[in-house]
Symmetry: C2
Subunit: 243 residues, 2 copies
């Protein structure tokens, strides 16, 4: 099943941008009259009939709408410090999208080696992984923000009555950590936020601030994981928990 992304979908007509139109009408040679499947990127898949096969701006008429198509029964934000090697962070974006994530926030920690992150490639990867894994909602890739600002200003989604906020870190000290599964088991909501630190871990100040703001310190088991592996493992733990 091939999915196309519509930048505009009003429930009757879907409009594809130049990239998607080229792929649909030039590469895959779809012609007006063909049935195609289109996602709006915000949670609905449409079965459509192609009405204009212009490879620079195709249009399709909606035959049937599938709201919530390919969705998951939780709302997950992963705030993760971009890795020194960009490929590794992009791999996390791809895999977390496949597994099921709603929002990815690149956060810059005090010990982050990478202090600047551009979201354009991650946006393309998230779109591609969304289509490949047959989902209709593209995860939001937020603009980068400092770990401290994220902790102080992030609020649960409006529809969520309560949110489980977790911080995964490795720091030594007296702070008691529980496993991520234990934290999930003791929560009966749907809204989860996980904060994953940079290669050099969170600073003690960031960790303290997170706990003050209601973040629960968790560990991800006995293995020492790279930043991007920890981020995908955390998303997987949430996905498996809500299965």
């Amino acid at each position: 099943m091939e999915l196309f992304y519509a930048y505009e979908a009003d429930g009757r007509t879907c409009r594809l941008d130049a990239d998607e139109s080229g792929h649909c009408c030039r590469v895959l040679r779809h012609r007006a009259g063909d049935e195609i499947h289109v996602i709006d990127g915000i949670g609905t898949m449409y079965r459509c009939r192609l009405t204009d096969d212009n490879p620079k701006g195709a249009e399709a008429e909606v035959l049937e709408a599938f709201p919530g198509w390919g969705g998951h029964p939780y709302r997950l934000t992963v705030a993760c410090c971009p890795t020194k090697n960009n490929d590794r962070f992009e791999w996390f974006v791809e895999k977390a999208t496949e597994v099921g994530v709603d929002r990815i926030v690149p956060t810059i920690g005090e010990r982050s080696e990478r202090k600047v992150y551009k979201t354009d490639r991650a946006l393309r990867i998230a779109l591609s992984a969304t289509k490949q894994s047959l989902k209709s909602r593209i995860p939001e890739i937020a603009e980068p923000v400092s770990v401290k600002d994220f902790i102080c200003h992030s609020e649960p989604a409006e529809q969520a009555k309560e949110s489980l906020k977790l911080i995964a870190y490795c720091f030594e000290g007296d702070t008691k950590r529980i496993s991520i599964q234990e934290a999930l088991r003791s929560f009966d909501g749907k809204d989860v936020t996980i904060l994953i630190g940079p290669e050099g871990d969170f600073s003690p100040e960031e960790a303290r601030l997170a706990v003050e703001h209601g973040y629960i310190p968790v560990h991800l088991g006995a293995s020492r994981l790279r930043t991007e592996t920890a981020a995908v493992l955390a998303a997987t733990a949430v996905y498996l928990h809500f299965e």
Copy 2:
């Protein structure tokens, strides 16, 4: 903590090959008398004193041995069909090693696009990921084998009284599948084998043969995952289950 791999370790002396010796003595400039940490690749980490800093063949005297260091409380074999794009399979080898796997078997299915697989790069990746994730045991990378031969000839490890054998596939049909977590919960042994199919899934014949040989059909949740993502997710589910 930096780990070096000894191709020979008899409990008193550890010998490093040219690659490891060069990294230890030329790149990191360790000199005779320095304390270093060495793994034997089969489950023991040694605290050592470098006695010969030859960058082509270094030797170290064992001061203390840590058997079982960085190990995990299960024995996991992942038999996975190599992906068309080699990078994706190698990524699985790296991530499964970080999380914790004992044996990786590249299996060639009837519908595999890739019919040939060379293990040399995977061996290097497994070694590197073992050291990076602070483990002492390098997962075995088996020589490729057909899916059918794997099903018919693989036996649980000798020390395992019983083994949980799982096959993850997507095929449509009447076969009832349970979730991988459900399968794990109903098992009280430690030896788990998971079979992951190629992009085109297992053939009905392979699926039938697996079930005949005691494999339990499982699903990995609602998301449609790429081969390598499915393989890492399955390893993660086992890791989290035994935490």
